[in-house]
């Protein structure tokens, strides 16, 4: 295990930002810390890096207990959301900083800086000041700067958060390729589930200071531990007491299958190649769970399929979960459900 965190608790005044968090991250992988804003992702990352101290709990990096170690002794590379570039230094000087602190020979530093700027495609900008770079370039520079000291782990706090959607996507692919090349244990924070699912080997879902689930993208998507994880990774709807994805529902015009829920189409909305159909299921239906459970179910179909069925407002339909659909019981504790709605 490259990073072992156990029993971390962190309070800000009377606010619990991390609540007894334990997690182990294996060597050489790219792990995403995923969760809603304010969930405690940055706090966890900063404690791992030594930039904050926990109230209790331990952190060990590469088998060494790092709990009491100051940031500068942890050999951790940290990339900040807003780059934290050294404004008064050139790009090359920024990248060289960690090596100069370590008093490496000049020639070695020059060589390594050149190599790293090559790696992040910034060679031709080495003599510029950070203010003369674009956001994406600055972030690549910050990455090179963190990699320069050959850190045992690389931590990135929403590295692409401040960039526009297109650059974000480019850099995300680039990070994945870079990781495949460099193989340093990497943890990055994001609140974008698509980013996590696409890039990471492992995902740790954090909400309200607690770890909700740890697993590969497939595991998380197919076997969510609870309705929070399920809801956070994609759109969900409820049907007959279970939470499931809107495209995992089969629509029939006759009551064929056992356990099918009868309902009336109230709205049909075309969005691109999809059709979103809202079905009211509650009324007089014996399978409806309870009065307060939402009597509305959202179903997503392809355009062609919707046209074949001839769906329109008022159409009577029978709904069943598709076979193999991921479902979670919606009868979670009240506190949990509140967490879902307030958290996202």
């Amino acid at each position: 295990m490259s990073i072992e965190v156990s029993g971390l608790t962190k309070k800000f005044g009377d606010f619990v930002a991390l609540d007894d968090v334990s997690v182990s991250l294996p060597t050489g992988q790219l792990t995403a810390l995923l969760g809603p804003s304010g969930g405690g992702k940055s706090t966890l990352l900063r404690i791992i890096a030594g930039l904050d101290t926990a109230d209790s709990g331990t952190v060990s990096i590469e088998g060494v207990d790092a709990t009491g170690l100051p940031a500068q002794k942890r050999n951790v590379g940290f990339v900040f959301q807003h780059y934290a570039v050294f404004k008064h230094m050139t790009v090359a000087k920024n990248v060289a900083f960690g090596l100069e602190i370590r008093k490496r020979p000049k020639a070695e530093i020059a060589h390594r800086v050149e190599e790293l700027l090559e790696l992040v495609h910034l060679s031709q900008f080495s003599h510029r000041l950070p203010s003369q770079l674009s956001g994406g370039q600055r972030q690549r520079m910050a990455l090179a700067r963190a990699l320069a000291v050959e850190p045992s782990v690389l931590l990135l706090d929403e590295p692409f958060g401040a960039l526009d959607a297109k650059v974000r996507k480019e850099l995300r692919d680039w990070l994945r390729r870079l990781h495949d090349e460099v193989h340093v244990t990497t943890v990055f924070v994001t609140h974008d589930q698509e980013e996590a699912l696409e890039v990471a080997d492992e995902i740790v879902v954090i909400n309200e200071g607690r770890v909700e689930q740890v697993g590969s993208p497939d595991q998380l998507y197919d076997e969510p531990a609870n309705d929070f994880v399920m809801g956070f990774l994609g759109e969900v709807t409820t049907l007959g007491g279970v939470v499931l994805r809107p495209h995992d529902i089969e629509v029939a015009l006759q009551p064929g299958l056992a356990g099918a829920v009868r309902g009336t189409v109230t709205r049909v909305l075309r969005v691109g190649f999809e059709v979103r159909v809202t079905v009211r299921t509650g009324d007089g239906d014996p399978t409806a769970v309870s009065a307060q459970a939402s009597p509305e179910t959202t179903v997503v179909l392809t355009r062609t399929h919707a046209r074949q069925l001839g769906l329109d407002a008022g159409t009577q339909v029978w709904l069943t979960p598709a076979s193999g659909a991921t479902t979670v019981s919606s009868m979670a504790p009240a506190g949990r459900r509140a967490a879902v709605t307030s958290g996202v």
Binding site: L51, Q72, V76, F80, G98, R102
Partner: protein, 267 residues
């Protein structure tokens, strides 16, 4: 937004007020200095009392600025980057010298440090340290009155630049002194420069507190501002004008440094 007559009214009021209160009197004084060509200046610079006082002023201002620089930067960093009990009280007390009369400052230092019956003065004197009527007291008086100036310039800059560059430096292995010299200081450089320049102007010009603490001993503890007073009262007004002119040059130079550096580096 504002109608032209109102705008003109305000403009005339602002410019007129400053002109009659500051600009015109200042210009008149400069003219009086050069009433008979360079004669006044040459005479003043040939007067040992004046040159000695200028040297003493330079020495005192230098040490006061150095001490306030170190103290000011330290306190600013502590106030902005750390939490500790009593911080708020300290932050308010720092501004106290802004509103204490120089005469009270002088009196306070005398009461604490005079060798005859001061609070701790006699003990210091017994160990051979003379504070009052000597340079240490004059440097302290000057430090006191200029105390908040560096802090008032540096604190907003420290807040503005934030601490993420410092954190980045720490994560890259830099220890506290390395972080300070390589990251913090370069990024607050201009705030520090303004603070120093303003302190310098204030230190060179200090009068009341120094007058009391120094004892105003001609040729030994008399600073440039004290010479101006004495010469004027002794009807050597030309020398007083010339010495004032030199002091004005210093303060205007300080102002111009601030005025021309600031906009360039604010953007």
């Amino acid at each position: 937004m504002v109608s032209p007559p109102v705008k003109w009214g305000l403009r005339v009021l602002a410019v007129g007020y400053v002109f009659f209160l500051v600009a015109w009197p200042l210009a008149l004084l400069v003219r009086q200095t050069f009433g008979n060509g360079l004669g006044n200046l040459v005479d003043a610079l040939g007067d040992e009392q004046v040159t000695g006082a200028l040297q003493l002023t330079a020495m005192i201002a230098f040490w006061a600025v150095v001490i306030n620089l170190v103290f000011g930067v330290t306190i600013s960093i502590l106030l902005v980057r750390y939490e500790f009990p009593g911080k708020r009280v300290l932050s308010a007390l720092i501004d106290l010298p802004l509103s204490v009369s120089p005469v009270v400052v002088g009196l306070a230092l005398v009461l604490a440090y005079n060798g005859r019956n001061g609070l701790v003065g006699p003990e210091l004197e017994a160990r051979g340290v003379q504070v009052i009527f000597d340079s240490p007291g004059m440097i302290m008086a000057t430090c006191f009155v200029a105390l908040p100036l560096v802090i008032r310039e540096v604190v907003p800059v420290l807040v503005e630049v934030g601490d993420d560059q410092e954190q980045a430096a720490r994560s890259l292995g830099a220890n506290a002194p390395q972080t300070f010299w390589r990251i913090t200081l370069p990024s607050i450089k201009w705030g520090v420069v303004y603070g120093v320049v303003l302190s310098l102007a204030r230190s060179v010009g200090e009068f009341g507190a120094v007058k009391i603490v120094s004892g105003n001993i001609t040729g030994r503890t008399q600073t440039a501002t004290l010479v101006v007073e004495q010469k004027y009262q002794n009807f050597q007004q030309e020398t007083a004008y010339a010495t004032s002119f030199l002091l004005i040059l210093v303060s205007i130079a300080c102002l111009l440094v601030v005025a021309f550096l600031r906009p360039k580096h604010d953007s």
